[in-house]
Amino acid sequence: MSISDKSERALSIDELLQRNVYDVDDEPHIIVDTEKCLKCRVKPCTLLCPAGCYTLSPDGEILFSYEGCVECGTCRSICPMDAITWNYPRSGRGIYYRFT
């Protein structure tokens, strides 16, 4: 899906992910134990997940959504709390790259 956007502003992560083709699985392929995140000081996932799947709630809690995940594996390699149980989406689901 190509959305015509010739503006010169920085796009939000949602606007960028809208360009992609997904077949989102019904159940998440990544499980985050957000209890462990409460004790995490740095929360590198909020900046280093390229798909912005990890966001902070107003209370400072980690909110995780798997729908826009591009299946890179960054989060599982950087999590200081070992809070992430990571897998690829089930057969055929998830991101579908075309021009990469």
């Binding site: 992560i13 992609n20 990469t100």
Partner: protein, 437 residues
């Protein structure tokens, strides 16, 4: 996998450039081969920068230059250092191209179609959950959910994110602070017809590769890249992940990695190149930063050989990166080794280590060893921060003068001083960089 036979000579996990080559060459040698892929169709989970060296691929894929979905042959290399409001660019044009651009999903589909022509059974939408081992620890097949398929040997071509090798206890759990891995993030921009040629000075079918160092990665080891395709341009960044975590911890990195890519797309120097473009895709992938340090303890075990990124066979030279060709070449070597092991009497570790020896005697390993110094460079943060500024400062001192120009020596000395470095230690480190490169 329910409907297909469950016993093969060779099972290849992952239909990328490495897996497709292993499957193709194993089938060519008469083996019954199953190639499994978690994505929908081959290539749908792949992402790379954008340039592929053809030399080794001529051996692996006969006819590739004529048949493969090649977009452009790279005839110009550019290297830019970006500062605050300054850009220094080195440009090199040549007439005998050795690399091309292509969409990796398309190229991989072509490779898999070649494998299928040789009789490979290709099954997509199969996520392999684990390697199956017998009582003695030998790999005897793969498991996907409730389904199991058996083979004399499994070729692991799962890529840089090695879930299967981790679960099998062959490599450590991926930890950015210890493993030499980087994150690549990329946007694909679709341009009006003819714009790439006009704006970059290219003729039809000519391509350009452009690497960017300096402030684009906020001092994190890594850099930006630009590659040209038929009617699209890929723009992206690669950042060393361990250093990225350090930068978040230190409060140096305050924005998302996607903002690093966006800042290149919107940079005043670059944005005119893709004026009136549409972003048609956004993605990211892990990549290997220093192949030798990512290599598993062995490349072959009882019933198992490891190829491509999973084996750490990616060469990052700083000024260029080679992954696809090395991956495919290693897949071909694996198939040759499997044939040799078969002749020697079976797929035990001892026989399959022929593959390890073949890799070590090939150009792949020799290149990885010869360029090992780059691993040190990827850890040298200064190279990505103050050194870039010192170079830009020298150029500024030389050129941006209204009446009086300094001598080159004066310009160098002044820039090094204002960069807070001392001349002699800096020269020592620069010599080391030159030597390592």
């Amino acid at each position: 996998m329910g409907s297909i036979p469950t016993r093969f000579d060779v099972i290849v996990v992952g239909a990328g450039p490495a897996g497709a080559a292993a499957a193709y060459h194993a089938a060519k040698r008469g083996f019954k081969v199953l190639l499994v892929e978690r994505g929908r169709g081959a290539g749908s989970k792949e992402l790379y920068g954008g340039r592929i060296y053809v030399g080794p691929l001529r051996d692996v894929w006969p006819g590739i230059e004529k048949e493969a979905p090649i977009h452009r042959w790279v005839v110009e290399e550019r290297l830019s250092i970006i500062g605050d409001g300054e850009v220094a660019t080195l440009s090199y044009r040549y007439s005998n191209p050795v690399s091309f651009t292509a969409y990796l999903p398309d190229l991989t589909r072509w490779m898999v179609s070649k494998a299928e022509e040789e009789g490979v059974v290709f099954v997509d939408e199969v996520r392999v959950d684990s390697l199956v081992r017998d009582g003695e620890g030998r790999v005897i097949g793969i498991r996907s959910g409730p389904d199991v398929a058996y083979a004399s040997v499994v070729v692991d071509a799962e890529g840089a994110n090695r879930l299967l090798l981790e679960r099998a206890g062959i490599v450590d759990a991926l930890d950015a602070k210890r493993a030499p891995i980087a994150l690549g993030v990329k946007e694909v921009l679709k341009l009006p017809k003819g714009a790439i040629e006009d704006r970059l000075g290219l003729s039809d079918g000519e391509g350009l590769s452009w690497l960017i160092a300096g402030t684009v990665t906020k001092g994190i080891p890594g850099g930006g890249f630009i590659y040209t395709f038929k009617d699209t341009i890929a723009v992206g960044v690669v950042v060393h992940l361990g250093h990225s975590v350090n930068a978040v911890e230190a409060g140096v990195l305050k924005e998302s990695v996607k903002d690093l890519v966006e800042s290149i797309r919107l940079h005043p120097y670059f944005k005119r190149l893709w004026r009136d473009s549409d972003i048609v895709e956004y993605g990211a992938h892990l990549t290997v930063e220093c192949g030798l340090d990512y290599m598993p303890p062995h490349l072959a075990y009882d019933g198992l050989v490891i190829v491509g990124d999973a084996a750490g066979l990616l060469l990052n030279l700083g000024y260029t990166v080679r992954g696809v060709d090395l991956a495919s070449y290693s897949g071909m070597l694996a198939a040759e080794a499997i044939a040799k092991a078969h002749d020697l009497g079976g797929m035990n570790a001892e026989n399959l280590r022929v593959y390890e020896n073949m890799v070590k005697e090939s150009f792949i390993y020799k290149e990885l060893v010869r360029h090992r110094g780059i691993c040190w460079l990827t850890k040298e943060r200064r190279f990505f921060t103050s050194y870039a500024n010192i170079l830009l400062g020298i150029l500024s001192n030389l050129y941006v003068q209204e009446f009086k120009h300094p001598t080159v020596f004066e310009a160098v000395k002044a820039s090094i001083r204002s960069g807070g470095e001392a001349l002699l230690p800096l020269i020592g480190r620069i010599l080391k960089v030159v030597r390592e490169l």
